[in-house]
């Protein structure tokens, strides 16, 4: 077919427009097929070639991330990354966003975000044992943001608690850039015996594809295309509500148990979850990965309601479904396991061979011998989506935005009040989450800089090994300089993990950005990827998976670039709880890392003074690596030795809110105040220069000399004592007040306790 023929066809036929496909994309489909697509084919291309599924705007950049290391068993591109944790145990991890649905319907949006990420983990053969939920909403002063926060937290808890996977960490960020566009990122980690590792791949001509779990309904149709791959115009949310899926954690719980049992019994050749783009995605991806074809009998798919069209069945995003590829001889056993777990299981497709030119075809049939509704190369759906190198534009006013002058000229009349206003205890959130199930939680949310679990789970017996994880993001740093901000974010996350004694082993990222058709957003994305690549290379942390969420814009306003990272680390021996946030009376308080008097990019400048310009200090990644290894060593000695050396009593990294917030949190956690005499001014108090940690010790000289022998700056800044937090010339707050301002912040804003 000639180009003019195609152009003429497109001009007559506008079927692709409401499906979110561009004219040139429609043209590519015609080119691939050599003919006009059927309705079913067109619908499948529209969801598989959506931004959400195909990463068509970001793939070209993501290639620059370092993904390899000896311990990486599965890198990006599969359902989840997998690393070798030693002793025959592997760890699967992934992070995803469910941003758009959570704005439209916060409870179900967040709940199905949890459900979706869990399936990505157990589809690898891993039992999910931990969730983390980095959340980003508008300010607490905004009524709609409070409503969204409440719904999102109830949704995460409602699903996670019931499905039986603890939510062991996360973070909460309040910022006006998330008003009307909250971000709900969900991280999940699972453990598996290495020999249970399975890939989402179809193989074996004649093998059967069994659809497990929920019936297919009309919910979530077009979720990945019309919902997740477009921004919100004014007051559009309600109209898109039918594109949000509805979750059933009880169905998912039985699905997890049934799938793990099938995998343990070696009854499955390949398995894939159904998430975005539903059956179109699961069938085409498994066939494409295996280089085979597949005949799908669309009439065989169990439905929730009569009258559903083949298009609806193939693109529905109904939750709690899996596609298992099995040999015909194991069908009876598979059905028996599913019957016991009360899981519906139906053969819906057969694996077919590739054609003479080696192309596997995905065919959709209306009944076993019925008419062919679609016949497309599986790979063209899964792997051959258009790749865009979208225009990028560096913002014109960069120098002005990066100038630290205005922030550093700011002064306040009452730094005690400033500090109190910056304290937020996320306990209101995590108290609503089961964070203890499986009895692995050594440090749960709020206890330490990172979550620390025993490396264990049902079927994986306890050793002394521990698994640390931290999720981090700081859009304010990235808004001013995405590259530097992302480097700092990765550095912060690695240090958080190190502060529990663990060595960082892998990173997954969730890149939340605005509209990729805005050249400035593409520039932000590209800079972010470079910053992440630089930091991960320097710190030797491979990127094993990721997710990109674009079109985070509301009423034409893009969110600040928000790359969320989650770093996972391992520690060999935990025989007692390591030191964490806190200290004991008479401890000397030591600051490790370089002093800074720069409040550019800080929360103090932003939240107290409304100044959003000025960038944070550059991180020296080589020095940072030494610092990470040093603090990990100190904590490991306390956690794993037969006799704890007792050198470190408490540790807290310095990040959002600077030294001031770090010291306040250590005071509140221990119930012991502090007397700080080595902070020169308010800038040093609130600077967010990363690559720093506060350590409490009874043996200051020993600690300082050990640090300095590694080339790490270390000074004593004060003493833990009394019932007030005092920083000379700047801060004087009673512990009771400090504590109540910290603990009650969210409850007061929500009106659950009386305002003061």
């Amino acid at each position: 077919m000639s180009i003019t023929d195609i152009t003429e066809l497109i001009s007559k036929d506008a079927r692709h427009v409401p499906l979110g496909l561009l004219d040139k994309e429609y043209g590519s489909i015609i080119e691939v097929l050599g003919r006009v697509p059927t309705d079913v084919e067109l619908a499948m291309y529209s969801v598989m070639w959506s931004e959400h599924c195909s990463y068509k705007s970001s793939r070209i950049h993501l290639r620059r991330l370092p993904t390899k290391a000896d311990h990486v068993l599965v890198g990006p591109g599969e359902n989840a990354g997998v690393i070798d944790a030693g002793d025959g145990v592997a760890v699967a991890l992934r992070i995803e966003s469910h941003n758009h649905p959570s704005f439209i319907e916060p409870y179900q949006g967040a709940a199905t975000g949890v459900g979706g990420i869990l399936r990505d983990i157990f589809t690898m053969g891993a039992r999910p044992i931990a969730l983390m939920d980095p959340l980003f909403v508008g300010p607490l002063e905004d009524a709609q943001s409070r409503y969204l926060l409440d719904g999102i937290v109830r949704g995460v808890g409602g699903y996670g608690n019931s499905v039986g996977v603890p939510t062991v960490g996360g973070q909460i960020t309040f910022d006006r850039c998330y008003e009307r566009n909250p971000l709900v990122n969900v991280f999940c980690l699972g453990v598996l015996p290495i020999d249970r590792l399975v890939l989402g791949q179809a193989s074996g001509v004649g093998n059967l594809c069994v659809l497990l779990g929920s019936r297919t309904g009309r919910d979530g149709i077009g979720g990945v295309s019309v919902l997740a791959s477009a921004g919100f115009r004014e007051d559009e949310g309600g109209a898109k509500r039918p594109s949000v899926q509805v979750g059933d954690p009880y169905e998912e719980k039985r699905l997890i148990e049934a799938c793990l049992e099938l995998l343990d019994a070696k009854l499955v050749v390949g398995i894939q979850d159904l998430g975005g783009a539903g059956l179109a995605c699961a069938t085409s991806e498994t066939a494409a990965r295996g280089g085979v074809g597949m005949d799908v009998d669309v009439l065989a798919v169990p439905r929730r309601e009569p009258g559903m069209s083949a298009v609806e069945v193939m693109t529905s995003e109904s939750q709690e479904r899996m596609l298992a590829i099995i040999t015909p001889s194991s069908l009876d056993q598979v059905l028996e396991v599913c019957r016991r777990w009360e899981i519906e299981a139906t053969v819906i497709a057969t694996v077919t061979g590739a054609d003479e030119s080696g192309v596997g075809h995905l065919r959709i049939l209306d009944g076993p011998d019925g008419p062919v509704l679609a016949d497309v190369p599986a790979r063209s759906l899964a792997d051959e989506a258009p790749l865009y190198d979208r225009p990028m534009l560096e913002p014109a006013n960069l120098d002005e935005r990066r100038d630290t002058g205005p922030a550093n000229a700011l002064v306040s009349s009452d730094y005690s009040e400033d500090l109190k206003s910056m304290l937020v205890d996320p306990a209101w959130i995590y108290r609503q989450y089961d964070h203890q199930l499986f009895v692995n939680t050594i440090f749960g949310p709020g206890d330490a800089d990172a979550t620390l679990l025993r490396l264990a789970g049902p079927g994986i017996s306890h050793t002394r090994k521990g698994l640390a994880m931290s999720s981090d993001a700081n859009a304010a740093w990235c808004a001013v300089d995405p590259r530097r901000g992302t480097r700092a974010t990765v550095a912060e996350s690695a240090l958080n993990v190190s502060a529990t004694g663990a060595t960082p082993m892998a990173l997954v990222n969730c890149l939340n950005f605005g509209n990729p058709e805005h050249p400035q957003v593409m520039w932000e994305l590209s800079e972010t990827v470079d910053g992440m690549a630089e930091a991960c290379s320097a710190l030797s942390i491979p990127v094993v998976g990721g997710n990109v969420s674009l079109y985070n814009e509301s009423a034409g306003r893009d969110i600040d670039p928000t790359p969320t990272v989650a770093v996972v680390g391992l520690i060999d021996s935990v025989v007692r709880r390591p030191p964490s946030i806190g200290w004991i009376a008479r401890d000397r308080i030591i600051l490790l890392g370089e002093r800074s008097a720069n409040v550019g990019g800080s929360r103090w400048a932003r939240d107290v003074h409304g100044v959003r310009t000025g960038q944070i200090d550059e991180v020296d990644l080589a020095k940072h690596k030494v610092l990470c290894e040093f603090v990990a060593q100190l904590v490991r000695e306390e956690a794993g030795a037969e006799v704890a050396p007792g050198l470190v009593h408490g540790i807290h990294t310095v990040g959002d809110g600077g030294l001031g917030v770090a010291l306040a949190e250590m005071s509140v956690a221990s119930g012991v105040g502090c007397e700080i005499d080595e902070i020169v001014d308010h800038r040093e108090l609130f600077s967010e220069s990363v690559s720093r940690a506060v350590i409490a010790t009874g043996r200051a000289d020993e600690l300082i000399s050990r640090a300095r022998s590694m080339g790490i700056a270390a000074i004593a800044v004060g003493v833990a004592q009394g019932d007030r937090m005092r920083v000379s010339q700047l801060v004087d707050i009673g512990l009771d007040e400090l504590s109540s301002r910290f603990h009650d912040r969210i409850e007061r804003a929500l009106g659950e306790i009386a305002s003061h």
């Binding site: 009880y250 148990e257 108290r431 199930l437």
Partner: protein, 233 residues
């Protein structure tokens, strides 16, 4: 001889592996038993673990009480056998009529997961028979429906009968009279909202659950010994 303890697994249970490990550490044989079993002969005691049996749809425990295994649990309980329900297991036991009262949604209508202090207020149960009265224990709670309630006559009866075995020091859910755990009149069936199996190692924050579950295992052993003795007499 180690005793055999059945841990009932419903679809939707999620604490079965945690309690299995804890009971194993105490030297008893823990066996996970599927909810469709009809026969519990061969078991000396039963534990119904936490979770969301049958999704907790309709009402917590309301569907689980109709699972086939519950007839056998009821028979074992009526014949004096030791039965323990933890969290969702407590809810199931009240729905099944093996314990009085009911568990409503938490005051404040939010799920609560935190470590709280409870006080042992009666020895009249398998869980507390070996623990000194007045002992205070730090135990995790994790529930949306832990707000114990009952009518006035029942409350008077369980209070005077020494059936309130654990009380919250600082009530997290609005429970009547700060009740965290109760036993039946006979003292062989006990339920509690806190999770003793989650407090089994200082490395995870508390090992205060050990004395309670050790007491339960000991009670089962004594129950077996007394039956053997009766059988021989």
């Amino acid at each position: 001889m180690s005793v055999n303890i059945a841990i009932i697994r419903f679809p939707g249970s999620n604490c079965e592996f945690d309690i299995e490990e804890a009971i194993g550490k105490l030297g008893a044989n823990a066996h996970i038993v599927w909810h469709q079993e009809h026969d519990l002969s061969g078991f000396d005691g039963v534990i119904i673990p936490g979770g969301f049996a049958h999704g907790d749809y309709l009402r917590c425990g309301a569907i689980a009480r109709f699972s086939p295994v519950m007839d056998a649990v009821t028979r074992l309980a009526r014949s004096g056998g030791p039965v323990l329900g933890i969290c969702n297991g407590f809810q199931v036991l009240t729905e099944a009529g093996l314990l009085p009262g009911a568990l409503m949604r938490n005051a404040g209508l939010r799920f609560v997961c935190e470590t709280v202090e409870v006080e042992v207020t009666s020895n009249h149960s398998p869980l507390t028979s070996q623990v000194a009265l007045g002992t205070r224990l730090r135990l995790p709670v994790n529930h949306g429906e832990g707000n114990f309630t009952c009518d006035e006559a029942t409350l008077a009866e369980i209070e005077s009968g020494g059936q309130v075995v654990l009380r919250y020091v600082d009530n997290p859910n609005g429970s009547l009279n700060d009740i965290a755990g109760i036993s039946n009149r006979e003292g062989n069936v006990v339920g509690l909202m806190p999770h003793p199996e989650r407090a089994f190692d200082l490395v995870v924050g508390s090992d205060d659950g050990v004395p309670l579950l050790a007491s339960f295992v000991r009670f089962v052993e004594e129950h077996v010994a007394s039956h053997v003795a009766v059988g021989r007499a």
